[in-house]
């Protein structure tokens, strides 16, 4: 069902937890499956120097949170913003079709956290892009 990478990030998730006095926090839920993701960012000079998460969700959601926080650490805000769910899923060696939306949840939570930082620091939030397509065949996807 899940790749070894997913299982690794699920059983030994990186960056679990809370950042005290974070620069930005994002929380996002998926209304269909009920899962909830929360991310905390520490930003300096528009670079994400630390990221942590808390997730209520399935194995794919936890692994996506873990991988996504790993991938944005050390990145600029712009770079982090353009991290797609597809890239997260690929870094995990793939997700089952009906679990692609778990990586979407990670992407959206990052966007929320970045915008929270922007607003808090008196800047305009960035436009929330369209729902990023998952790249799977919509016919077989059970999303």
């Amino acid at each position: 069902m899940y790749s070894e990478k997913v299982m690794d990030h699920f059983t030994n998730p990186r960056n679990v937890g809370v950042i005290e006095n974070p620069s930005g926090v994002g929380e996002e839920g998926n209304p269909s499956c009920g899962d909830i993701m929360k991310m905390y960012l520490k930003v300096e000079n528009d670079i994400i120097i630390d990221a942590k998460f808390q997730t209520f969700g399935c194995g794919a959601a936890i692994a996506s949170s873990s991988m996504a926080t790993e991938m944005i650490k050390g990145k600029t805000l712009e770079e982090a913003w353009t991290l797609s769910n597809k890239a997260v899923a690929e870094a995990l060696d793939g997700l089952p079709p009906n679990k692609m939306h778990c990586s979407v949840l990670a992407e959206e939570t990052i966007h929320k956290a970045i915008n929270d930082f922007l607003v808090k620091s008196g800047r305009e939030p960035w436009g929330d892009g369209e729902c990023s397509s998952c790249g799977h065949d919509c016919d077989t996807c059970e999303l």
Binding site: C33, I36, K38, Q54, F56, G57, C58, I62
Partner: protein
């Protein structure tokens, strides 16, 4: 498999018992004749089918010629619902069922609704129990069928079938019960409980997968579902799965023989398991505390999500499920828990443990410890866990 597996998902499927497989083996390659044939190797298989029919009948106090073999619980449910609906449509098009049925019943009902039938889905109380009064109230002039499951596959609640059967009989309405989880696990009597149609399946009682039966009380109006050859006295077409039927018969006989002792043994083990798990904070038992299948416990762990629990348990060699196996690909919370009034986010944290004939007190201890650890680990990650 290199490490010991503790299997606690018997409601999803059981292994086929060794002696059942042994009973089946001769019918694959040696006694393989088509039971409809004239020559001896086919004819002898006919006798074997009759024996299996007797074995199945005696488990539910039916007559052998009221047993019709199908390929499983799903077919039995489809046949019962669609067959009874179409056979009685001149009388009316109203069907009563419940909101906690297996999808084999619910989706058959939805399909019938798409073809002009009207379905009433009865609610359940917080224990997942249907009230006989609600059944009686729902009956209309044009009601032709009542379908209420014997025991729920997710939360294990045993329904008041005898009371409902009495009401159905009083009103002259055909009464079907999906007893897939109940046959071989609790005593059933189609006569005293006034059941007209009953579904059962092999792979829930240590029989093979892909075989089941529909009990049809003599005189019940029902159309065929599987059309074709003249098998099963012209009511269910298709070359008989002889090894499967032999296996089903052997498995039912085996289950019935041990039933009373096994019920007691499982009830004790299950109670121990439940008691230990409820010691974990913010946990609740789903389903009725006592009127439930002896092998079923279903627990909600607040703040965490079921699939991640299962994955961690699996890594410890423990097999469990969140509810019904056939919808584990679905993201929706269980329709059974929802019908019982359990909120979405909490319903997502429920785990079903169904024990079986090999389960030991030692297993219960290991699973309890493993679940404690797992729940703690996941709660530590969850944004919902209170500080």
């Amino acid at each position: 498999m290199d490490k010991k597996i503790i299997y606690m998902d018997h409601a999803a499927t059981t292994y086929t018992a060794k002696e059942v497989v042994e009973a089946m083996i001769p019918y694959f390659s040696d006694e393989f004749g088509n039971p409809s044939s004239v020559y001896s190797i086919g004819q002898s298989n006919k006798k074997v089918l009759d024996l299996a029919r007797k074995q199945a009948a005696s488990a539910i106090n039916a007559q052998p010629d009221e047993i019709f073999f199908t390929n499983g619980g799903t077919e039995s449910d489809n046949w019962a619902l669609k067959g009874a609906a179409f056979a009685n449509e001149r009388k009316g098009k109203h069907i009563i069922t419940t909101s906690i049925e297996h999808h084999a019943v619910l989706h058959s009902c939805e399909w019938l609704a798409s073809r002009g039938f009207e379905i009433t889905y009865l609610p359940v109380d917080k224990f997942g129990m249907v009230s006989p009064e609600s059944v009686e109230k729902a009956i209309r002039q044009d009601t032709i069928l009542i379908s209420v499951m014997y025991a729920n596959n997710e939360v294990g609640t045993i329904q008041p079938i005898a009371e409902i059967g009495k009401i159905a009989r009083k009103h002259g309405i055909c009464f079907h019960t999906d007893a897939v989880q109940a046959v071989g696990h609790v005593p059933i009597d189609v006569v005293s409980e006034n059941i007209d149609l009953l579904s059962l399946s092999g792979h829930k009682l240590y029989g093979p997968k892909g075989i089941g039966a529909l009990y049809i009380r003599k005189g019940t109006r029902i159309q065929s579902f599987m059309h074709g050859g003249a098998q099963e006295r012209k009511r269910r077409a298709g070359t008989e799965n002889v090894p499967g039927i032999v296996g089903l018969g052997a498995a039912i006989e085996r289950a019935v023989t041990h039933l009373p002792e096994e019920m007691d043994r499982l009830t004790d083990l299950r109670n121990e398991l439940t008691r230990e798990l409820l010691k974990i904070p913010a946990t609740h038992l789903n389903g009725h505390p006592t009127k439930r299948l002896p092998n079923n416990t279903n627990i909600i762990f607040e703040y965490i999500e079921g699939e991640s629990v299962l994955l961690l348990l699996n890594m410890k060699g423990i097999c469990a499920s969140t509810g019904s196996a056939c919808n584990s690909a679905s993201l929706e919370p269980s329709h059974v828990l929802t019908a019982m009034g359990i909120p979405h986010e909490i319903a997502h944290g429920s785990i079903r443990l169904t024990i079986g004939e090999r389960t030991t007190a030692e297993d219960v201890k290991i699973v309890t410890a493993a679940l404690k650890e797992t729940v703690e680990k996941l709660r530590a990650m969850s944004p919902l866990t209170p500080k």
